[in-house]
């Protein structure tokens, strides 16, 4: 569990200061993967560096499993660091050490004996799918392989928390996938709590349970991805879900329908059955005016703009809401086109 409380950090700049983090609070529950997103300069790396105990915040607390780490120094700080595995932004492997040698670094720091170290390194390389690359130097690994070694290194000392800053920013989509798979395994097989900083929404879509959106040093949105997507006005929702206005494809929206609404459906059951069942049950004609289906992690999520025609349209909509569809009524504008 990672808890960040009222974290503030500014950097001196010209004659004043840049406030990189402004009273940021957030938490990541045990075993969850949380994505931190936001535009460039929003403070994502600063947040990651503070949690990695590389930058000291001006004020606020950072708790990993309850203990505040901000005030630590010396030996206790070094011990705390072992509980936080970090995959830094950019290339961070020692080029003069093999993949195995890099993974061994935290174990050496923890004074583990050489035989123990060897077997642990083998386990970790296996976890990231790079057993055959143990004796290979980073320069002979691909970017994705290097990042996976960096993840293995971060996990070596059995931390409870894994922090990754833009682990996929330099990678193409298929390589990105291999790195994300490894982060996902860290959570599912080791129970590690993962915080991943990214500007790539595909990362959030693929592995995040939770998400925090930073903007100019403040958290503007934070929560479970599946909760946020169904909230009206959510940025996460509007970025991750399909567009419902598909231009000329829905010219008649609002015309000829008694009710036009936007629905967000989360999960197999809802996506598969809710709309047809509502249509049958209330004998309303249901047409899909826009939107589509997507997948968030393993969960199918749909966002549709629907038009309902029939006497019981309102009841059908009410029934959908009762059955966990997230419905937003589309305001119908004067010319009959839903805005």
């Amino acid at each position: 569990m990672i808890t960040v409380e009222n974290l503030t950090k500014s950097f001196p700049h010209d004659n004043g200061a840049v406030v990189a983090l402004d009273n940021v609070s957030m938490q990541v529950p045990d075993g969850a993967v949380c994505g931190v997103v936001g535009s460039s300069g929003a403070g994502k790396s600063t947040l990651a560096r503070c949690i990695a105990l590389l930058d000291k915040p001006d004020s606020g607390a950072i708790r990993v499993d309850g203990t505040d780490l901000v005030a630590l120094d010396g030996k206790s700080l070094r011990a705390a660091r072992r509980r936080i595995g970090v995959v830094p932004q950019g290339d961070s492997l020692l080029r003069q050490r093999t993949a195995a040698g890099n993974v061994a670094l935290p174990l050496e720091a923890a004074n583990m004996s050489a035989p123990q170290r060897r077997s642990r390194v083998a386990e970790l390389l296996d976890l990231v799918g790079l057993s055959d690359k143990a004796p290979v130097y980073p320069d002979q690994l691909s970017g994705g392989q290097r990042q996976r070694v960096a993840v293995a290194r971060a996990l070596a000392a059995q931390p409870s928390v894994l922090l990754a800053d833009e682990p996929t920013s330099a990678l193409d989509p298929s390589t990105t996938d291999s790195v994300l798979t490894v982060l996902d395994r860290a959570r599912s097989e080791l129970g590690v709590t993962v915080l991943v900083v990214t500007h790539d929404m595909a990362v959030v879509r693929r592995i995040a349970d939770d998400v925090a959106v930073l903007e100019q040093g403040s958290v503007v949105e934070h929560g479970k991805v599946l909760d946020l997507v169904s909230e009206p006005g959510s940025r996460i929702g509007s970025t991750l879900l399909p567009e419902t206005d598909q231009g000329s494809a829905v010219p008649a929206a609002g015309i000829g329908h008694d009710v036009v609404a936007e629905v967000v459906l989360v999960g197999f059951a809802a996506v598969g059955a809710l709309l047809p069942e509502a249509s049958n049950r209330f004998d309303v004609e249901l047409s899909i005016l826009g939107g589509g289906l997507t997948r968030l992690g393993d969960t199918p999520v749909a966002k549709f703009r629907i038009g309902l025609s029939g006497e019981l349209s309102e009841s059908a909509l009410k029934w959908m809401i009762e059955h966990d569809a997230h419905v937003r009524r589309a305001p119908v504008s004067v010319d009959g086109v839903a805005a």
Binding site: R81, S92, L94, A109
Partner: protein, 228 residues
């Protein structure tokens, strides 16, 4: 340009002189590494980008290193004469020359070391910090470990520079090829000895460079994969 010394005699003369030069240079290089490496590490650690920024200490170290480095070697030789006499009992001869050679080379190697360490990406250092590694381990594994090729190269540059210094010291009785070149060659009007000594000095420098370049390549585990 009068009568020429026969080659066998020239060789007899140059053989021990070469040995002396090699002895001076290798000993002074070794001592320069022993003294200069920690000094260079401190110079780097105390710098603003270092692990332990300490501006006053950094400034003091920097001034000391650069002042000594900027003293012409001939001046160092003279200034250090009494110190040398105190240390080794005499101010002339090859063992005595090792003292000013070392004093001159320590700050030289320290500066090269600090420069080499500065080239190590801070991301690597930070990555090591997050593993909970001690400062000593970071210096050893990350800084010195990653800069190893540059450091071996720095040893080479230092040794080659010292060959020149040692020859210069030879001019005022330091022994080795420098003394042979000046006393037997130049002052003895013997071109054969003069040029042979000079060529040998050049060959030594070239050989030293070759050896350290090769060593740098051996210790460097990076393999730059060049794509056509």
């Amino acid at each position: 340009m009068s009568d020429k010394t026969p080659w066998p005699e020239v060789i007899e003369l140059l053989r021990p002189a070469t040995g002396e030069t090699v002895y001076m240079v290798l000993t002074a290089t070794l001592l320069a590494v022993v003294g200069g490496l920690p000094l260079g590490v401190m110079l780097h650690l105390t710098s603003p980008a270092g692990l332990n920024p300490n501006p006053p200490a950094h400034r003091v170290l920097g001034v000391v290193v650069d002042v000594v480095r900027s003293v012409p070697f001939v001046v160092l030789l003279v200034v250090l004469a009494s110190f040398t006499r105190f240390l080794v009992g005499t101010a002339i001869g090859s063992t005595a020359v090792i003292v000013p050679l070392t004093v001159g080379a320590i700050p030289f190697f320290a500066r090269l070391t600090a420069n080499a360490l500065r080239e190590v990406d801070t991301t690597l250092v930070e990555a090591a910090i997050t593993t909970g590694a001690s400062r000593l381990r970071i210096v050893w594994t990350v800084l010195l470990g990653e800069a190893r090729a540059a450091l071996v190269g720095a040893v080479g540059v230092t040794a080659v520079t010292l060959i020149g210094y040692a020859a210069m010291a030879g001019a005022i009785g330091g022994g080795g090829l420098g003394t042979t070149a000046i006393q037997d060659g130049y002052q003895g009007y013997d071109d054969r000895i003069l040029y042979s000594s000079v060529i040998l000095l050049g060959a030594l420098a070239w050989g030293m460079q070759l050896i350290t370049d090769f060593a740098a390549k051996i210790v460097d585990r990076r393999r730059v994969v060049t794509s056509a």
